[in-house]
Symmetry: C2
Subunit: 340 residues, 2 copies
């Protein structure tokens, strides 16, 4: 007769004719308890489907074995989780946390509280935080740092060293992408992305590095801010063509989703990719391989990133010192830049 919901340590204790403390120790396999007793109790617990009450345990132990993952979204676009990149990294984090027996509390930026420290740490809902998502300089992250919360951030390293980040070498990525376009003969390259975002700013610097190296003058009007959606990639390129001011021959979009939107417009206009305009993205999401033409891109090492985020945070919780990590990126050349 299994009666799950009401079972507590005391019930098992009664059944086994021992004290609660013995049951508690037996279930955690504490060697203080005689092996036979231990096994007997474990068997009983198993039989009755007993599981320790997490709230009680957390209260007593003053920790939760839970990490809150905060997915920052563009507050303007008001959209839900959608950038495939965010989702891939979320998946990696979930798997990695599982490995360490941690639970994952997911929270999108729409969450009630803006005061993450209070909501998650002070109120003991989670032991630590991981913040992901392309963010502009975010006040809330700064606040976390000054409150000395245990957290790590996906993204670019800010100038100060107030908190630990894990992120790709965005400047190198921007450089690689742009250099590649230049090598393909492009001279008028649109930079499609919002340089007010930390990470994108670095890619923008890499873009400039490559132009400078090639002796191509920087044309600031070729930088066009975009949301992280195919939708906006499409319409921003459309707008550019409506203005009809620049004769461009290359596009560096700061995400694959944006690039795919931009390509769509070019194809709608019967502009040849890559011969008339070459296009390169960033991220290397699963679908970029399957776009037509296949999208060249700068690959971010998502799984390494997710793992690092988790590993660093757990170290931090363990009071070990941690430092920000820069992940290497890799140029992936496919059809969208491979001029014949």
């Amino acid at each position: 007769m299994i009666k799950n919901s009401t079972m507590k340590l005391a019930d098992i204790a009664k059944l086994a004719n021992v004290s609660e403390s013995t049951v508690s120790r037996a279930l955690s396999n504490n060697k203080l308890i005689n092996k036979k007793t231990r096994e007997r109790i474990q068997a009983i617990a198993q039989e009755y489907g007993f599981k320790v009450n997490a709230s009680a345990r957390n209260l007593r132990l003053q920790k939760t074995n839970t990490i809150a993952v905060i997915v920052l979204l563009d507050p303007n676009s008001g959209q839900s989780i959608s950038d495939p990149f965010l989702l891939e990294i979320l998946g990696t984090i979930a798997d990695e946390l599982t490995k360490y027996n941690f639970d994952l509390l997911l929270c999108t930026s729409k969450t009630n509280a803006n005061d993450w420290h209070r909501y998650y740490i002070t109120s003991r809902r989670a032991d630590g935080l991981i913040v992901i998502g392309q963010g502009e300089h975010d006040q809330r992250v700064e606040a976390l740092a000054s409150e000395n919360a245990p957290f790590v951030v996906w993204g670019a390293q800010p100038n100060h060293q107030k908190y630990v980040t894990v992120g790709s070498d965005n400047r190198k990525g921007g450089y690689l992408a742009t250099k590649h376009l230049i090598q393909q003969g492009c001279k008028q390259i649109v930079f499609l992305g919002d340089i007010h975002h930390n990470e994108i700013e670095m890619r923008w610097k890499g873009y400039q590095d490559a132009l400078e190296e090639a002796g191509i003058p920087l044309e600031k009007n070729l930088q066009i801010s975009t949301d992280f959606t195919s939708n906006d990639g499409y319409s921003k390129i459309r707008d550019l063509f409506l203005m009809n001011q620049y004769k461009i021959d290359g596009i560096f979009a700061v995400s694959d989703a944006i690039a795919i939107g931009a390509m769509k417009f070019l194809l709608d206009k019967d502009i040849k990719i890559p011969d008339e305009i070459a296009v390169i993205g960033f991220d290397d999401i699963a679908l970029s391989h399957y776009s037509s033409p296949a999208l060249s891109t700068v690959k971010q090492n998502i799984s390494a990133g997710g793992k690092l985020l988790v590993d660093l945070l757990l170290k931090k919780l363990n009071n070990q010192p941690i430092t920000s990590q820069l992940l290497d990126v890799e140029l992936v050349v496919r059809q969208s830049t491979a001029k014949s």
Copy 2:
């Protein structure tokens, strides 16, 4: 002087010169407490950044205000979250739960325990469960039902009524997609998807309905099982062409991701879409609009689905009766089926 972490009700009580119970009541704005006192206490709590300890509260109240969302993944492919569709619905659920002040515990199928009831409900980590992801007949879901757990499932309604589901009218969707292909003149239509999955089985039935209506004989070899990835969509169509046995003129893929993979192969082979082979997908993910050619598809109402899942589950937690819901689907015609 703000000292977050160590603050408890008792500390606020001391500061305000009242008892803990008064503080507790004041913070929940209980009218038993004099308005002035209430406001004074609230101000103090505010000032010191006090937040109720969730573990203690949960323990006392015997509930968690947390819902666990279980994302089922293909155990074979062993991949992380990746189907864009899953992620979109996850986002909707997150937003909806936020609205009701519930937290979301995310768990992928790799989670330690397979016994979700024990892990989440018995151990009081969550008050209820939402299960999403294309699943075959899953033992674990059946188990939940027999243990009388509060949960709802995204997907097709099983024959028995042991648990409540929310899902699209897959049969109608399959019918609409296939009928549309037939109207475009297709006669040899590949069904690209694994009919052992509940939902896909219904789409398969819809496919048959449309064929029958049009008087086209069913060719079972045109049904090809696929993982839910572009990758597999690509390779399964490639394999089909290698066999070189059928002269097909249409493909109905059971997800947009699969369809995009399939289209990629056709394009690589310089097969004209839709004129030689028309392609239609299922889901209407964000990117389907931006593929080339733009992908025709059957739109699932994701946001309605996410909301319904949450609303039904919360009703269930509230002991209100709930029943399974079927969501209407909609044919979205784009370039990939629009023959000239």
